[in-house]
């Protein structure tokens, strides 16, 4: 019996090659997409789960209710560690960490190698030794108990260890962080997994911070919200209990009365770090899309099976006559479907594995994973494929097994199938609507990305080099500027606390004419005299800061948006108030984009930075056309000479612009939709193929008769085409408005006006594909002999 089953299935495959190939392609595409997204989603959901204390780890975050919308900040002040958490009995362990970034003098993210060259390493942390108790870290060398307890010690990751000490044996050796500070390697740990939200490349002990930074005073700091406070809760503790105990922590801290600490579980660190659902919504959309594609593939399978069953109806009829039961026929068909899906799943796994690099590019991720190694996922995928098999086999099986043998054997099966035929049409229309929608949206996104990339930013973004630097030998900026301007390649130089796209300092201000309680959040920038000319910002009113007016040190320049918000007609001389100090306005700059074009232009205020550079700031240099490399060499050499102790690295401003989060988000979205557009297009083409196959088979005799009567093949073609054009027309009615809706609701402050071309292009592509599909079938009928079609009976 079993053997009979399989022989039957194999023979059917051989007998219906085209059908099998098309249907398998359909299933493989659907399943591969599903598998791919299962992998991605599974990966995202698995973040941080490698920690044995996964359920007990929390980060203390800060909710700032005085900003609008409410700001959820992942950081909290260091005083929590020393004054707050110690008093909560439910907390088992505390851990204070802070990213190393210019925060303490002279550290930076640089290592100086023995030959004097610099190694730039991101994701370094100041950390307490409890990191080894709370997170699951494997030590390769060193002692977990004491690795980060002493001053001047550093624990480094395996990767960094290989870079710094290619010959091994890092333990006990000295490394130079920044330019001067020697630290002893106290431990080497295995790299944190790729799917860990915390991935330090190195960790410097907290006692070192006390030496390098301001001393132990940071322990009492309640306002520096830039620290990571991790805690390990005692098993079984309800975090809300702790939330309630710590909620008043900021009550007596001036200016922070409306900030509240709360516990954020490790399980949400990756997907929702700021307590915002963005990533989760993204994943949900992704899951939905994957399931949708799979359903479309199942629907196709059903349609194709029914279309093909005309060919197999005789076989079924005979089997029934010679004693096969309905159940047997149905179960055989389902078994056949399951075998198809099983085979398609195996192929799909290979396709998905091969397509993972593509997925990495689309999502800009770095999945270092193999599908085969995740047994849980494999089980899940095979269960889904089983379900797909049953679902897509069941309906055709019931239909086919119910065939009336008398009708089937007389070839009268399709005398009364108008209804089911319409259902098929609706399904194909649905498929085309979806792929048209996807296609148009990806075109819209294409336009949008181009728009963002090419929009006039309001300042001259070309020919600028910049570096972050932490100057701790106070220097007159004129010295630097004059040295640089000796070279014809350099045309201007400035320093400031932020530059467009990099850095953001907020603050609440009030202004002349504001209501008593009215205040507004502004973006602040502390600039020197050269900032406005270097970035070619245009003045609309008043003037730039000038050395000729010593009072400018207490003055400010605002942008047009600020002018509108303040509602001033004559801005010059009006005053704004920041932290109780008044600043008169001396000028207004034309609006420019200090952040990505995705965001609206903020209320922006510039204050004068004295012409003396010290501490953390940004140096910008404008060079003349075509001299980027020379300019980079010049500024690097000169700055090295003037500030030998402070590490820096000049970068091209354009590159920073392209790395901007919003732009890469839209690029990702664009690629994602293009991917789905291609996938749904493939699947709907297969759907259409099946439908036309069905129509043609049903009408083989009719077409034969027409041919015998002298009708040309062209008229047959027109008849099929007009049906498809009709369906496409209906699909357009659904797909285009849906795409338009997406355009309307697409977030972003600036959008290009919608062009009709995106719709036309989408419709044309789909129409061409549909016509090609019809042509294939019509050609097949055209070359066939009408006698064949008419012979039977």
């Amino acid at each position: 019996m079993i053997r009979h089953f399989f022989i039957n299935i194999l023979r059917n495959v051989r007998h219906n090659k085209v059908f099998t190939v098309i249907n398998l392609t359909n299933l493989v595409v659907g399943l591969a997409v599903f598998i791919l997204f299962s992998v991605v989603i599974n990966y995202e959901l698995d973040y941080d789960k490698f920690n044995t204390n996964y359920d007990q780890i929390y980060r203390v975050q800060t909710r700032q209710e005085d900003s609008n919308p409410i700001n959820y900040c992942t950081y909290s002040p260091p005083a929590f560690r020393y004054h707050l958490m110690a008093e909560v009995p439910e907390v088992e362990k505390v851990l204070l960490m802070r990213e190393v970034s210019g925060g303490a003098k002279g550290s930076g993210q640089y290592f100086t190698l023995p030959d004097g060259s610099q190694l730039n390493e991101k994701d370094g942390y100041w950390s307490e030794n409890t990191v080894f108790d709370i997170f699951t870290v494997k030590l390769i060398e060193g002692n977990k108990e004491t690795a980060l307890t002493e001053p001047s010690t550093i624990a480094i990751s395996e990767t960094l260890s290989k870079k710094l000490f290619p010959n091994g044996n890092a333990l006990g050796k000295l490394v130079t962080i920044g330019k001067h500070y020697p630290l002893t390697v106290s431990a080497v740990y295995a790299d944190f997994p790729m799917n860990s939200s915390l991935r330090p490349t190195y960790m410097v002990s907290m006692p070192t911070y006390e030496v390098l930074a301001e001393g132990p005073t940071y322990r009492d700091n309640w306002t520096n919200i830039s620290w990571d406070n991790f805690i390990l809760l005692k098993k079984g503790t309800d975090p809300r209990l702790v939330d309630a105990k710590i909620k008043d922590a900021f009550k007596n801290v001036k200016d922070y009365e409306k900030s509240f600490p709360y516990l954020h579980p490790l399980s949400k660190h990756h997907l929702s770090p700021n307590s915002q659902p963005d990533m989760i919504v993204g994943l949900a959309i992704l899951s939905l899309a994957a399931i949708l594609v799979l359903i479309l593939a199942c629907v196709n399978y059903v349609n194709l099976s029914l279309a093909n069953s005309t060919q197999r109806s005789t076989e079924i009829g005979i089997k029934k006559v010679i004693g096969s039961s309905k159940k047997l026929i149905a179960s055989q068909f389902i078994a056949e479907t399951m075998l198809h899906t099983l085979f398609a799943t195996i192929l799909g796994l290979f396709v998905a594995q091969a397509a993972l690099p593509l997925m990495n590019r689309i999502l800009e991720k770095n999945f270092d994973l193999s599908i085969w190694s995740n047994s849980q996922l494999l089980v899940f995928i095979f269960l889904v494929s089983l379900l797909v098999g049953v679902l897509s086999g069941l309906y055709p099986a019931l239909v086919i097994s119910a065939y009336n043998p008398v009708k089937v054997l007389k070839g009268k099966l399709f005398s009364s199938v108008r209804n089911s035929f319409n259902v098929k049409k609706i399904l194909v229309v649905a498929q085309f609507s979806i792929s048209l929608f996807m296609l148009i949206v990806s075109f819209i996104l294409f336009n949008h990305v181009n728009f963002i990339l090419n929009k006039d930013l309001g300042f001259d973004s070309k020919n600028i080099l910049y570096t972050e630097i932490n100057v701790h030998d106070t220097t007159r900026f004129e010295t630097i500027k004059n040295r640089l301007l000796q070279y014809p390649e350099i045309s201007d130089a400035a320093f400031s606390s932020t530059i467009p796209f990099i850095g953001n300092i907020g603050g609440f201000i009030t202004w002349d004419g504001a209501a008593p309680d009215e205040r507004v959040m502004v973006s602040r920038n502390y600039v020197n005299y050269d900032f406005i000319p270097t970035y070619n910002l245009k003045m609309v009113y008043g003037r730039n800061f000038s050395k000729e007016y010593p009072a400018d040190k207490e003055a400010c320049i605002i942008n047009e948006t600020a002018l509108k918000v303040f509602g001033w007609d004559d801005p010059i001389g009006k005053q704004i108030t920041l932290y109780g100090r008044k600043y008169p306005v001396i000028g207004v700059v034309k609006d420019f984009h200090p952040y990505s074009v995705h965001n609206p232009i903020p209320t922006y205020v510039m204050f004068l930075n004295d012409n003396v550079i010290s501490g953390s700031s940004l140096i910008s240099v404008r060079f003349t056309d075509g001299n980027e490399q020379q300019a980079k060499a010049i500024v690097s050499r000169e700055l090295e000479d003037i500030l030998p102790r402070d590490p820096f690295e000049f970068k091209d401003f354009g590159a920073a612009f392209y790395l901007d989060g919003a732009i890469s988000f839209w690029q990702s979205m664009k690629r994602m939709f293009l991917f789905f557009a291609v996938v749904t297009l493939i699947i709907s083409t297969i759907g259409l193929f099946g439908l036309i196959l069905f129509t043609v088979k049903r009408r083989t005799k009719e077409i034969g008769v027409r041919k015998v009567l002298g009708s040309s093949i062209v008229s047959v073609y027109w008849q099929l085409s007009s049906e498809v054009v009709q369906m496409l027309g209906i699909a357009t009615l659904f797909g285009c408005p849906a795409a338009f809706y997406i355009y309307k609701t697409m977030p972003g402050a600036y959008k290009e006006p919608l062009s009709a071309m995106v719709f036309v292009a989408g419709i044309i592509i789909i129409a061409v594909i549909a016509q090609l599909t019809i042509s294939y079938h019509v050609l097949k009928v055209a070359v066939s002999n009408p006698v064949e079609a008419l012979r039977y009976e």
Partner: protein, 224 residues
């Protein structure tokens, strides 16, 4: 064995009722060889299909061995097809994806006969019909007469009591047709009840009894 009383078969369309069979009374005894004749559209095949439980009458009674076989459960009907009757068709209706051997073997699989017994039974029939050398060929590779022989072999392998043949020689040249009729006659001689539908007077003559249908009525029923 077969007892039909007042069998009607009709189709209702909007304003009128079209009769295919009307008031058919028929009794067929075990061992008979009945030929049903009549012009196209006289209801021959419908009558055969009703007898073969492939179609249901609109009215009337159908007793098989004194048991009513109308409104049977699907399962019982399948049992009748497996154990009691075999079919032969004008277009042979062999399963194209199966070899000669497999085509003949299939009914036994449905019947649940063990593999070893199946082998012996199929080999026996192949031998009888001189088709041993052709057992691994596919239907398309055979002549029409040979295909119909396979059809007969498939119909009788389950040792049915009743063999129903719908124009078994309709697609064949006369020499091959005669060969088929000889085969049927031999089966009848062994005791198998056979009912055939045919257009061909000469082949109808192989039967012991000829029933002539006209517009759904039995026009004549005569022993030879």
């Amino acid at each position: 064995m077969i007892h039909l009383t007042n069998i009607d078969k009709y189709y209702d369309s909007k304003f009128q009722r079209t009769f295919v069979l009307k008031g058919i009374n028929l009794e067929v005894n075990e061992g008979e060889f009945v030929s049903i004749m009549g012009p196209s559209g006289s209801g021959k095949s419908t009558l055969l299909n009703i007898i073969g439980l492939l179609d249901a009458p609109s009215a009337g009674q159908y007793m098989l061995y004194d048991k009513s076989v109308l409104d049977l459960k699907e399962k019982t009907k399948v049992d009748y097809h497996r154990n009691f009757m075999g079919f032969i068709f004008q277009a042979y209706h062999l399963i194209e994806e199966m070899t000669v051997y497999e085509n003949i073997e299939t009914p036994l699989i449905y019947k649940g006969v063990s593999g070893r017994d199946r082998k012996a039974m199929v080999a026996d029939l192949l031998d009888r019909f001189n088709m041993v050398a052709k057992k691994d060929l596919f239907p398309q590779q055979l002549s029409g007469g040979q295909q119909q022989l396979v059809g007969i072999a498939r119909a009788i392998i389950g040792k049915p009591k009743l063999l129903l043949a719908d124009e078994p020689t309709g697609n064949l040249q006369s020499a091959q047709g005669e060969m088929i009729m000889e085969t049927l006659k031999a089966l009848n001689d062994e005791g198998m009840t056979i009912i055939q539908v045919t257009h061909n007077e000469k082949f109808a003559g192989y039967g012991k009894r000829i029933i002539r249908l006209e517009d759904g009525y039995i026009r004549s029923d005569s022993d030879k």
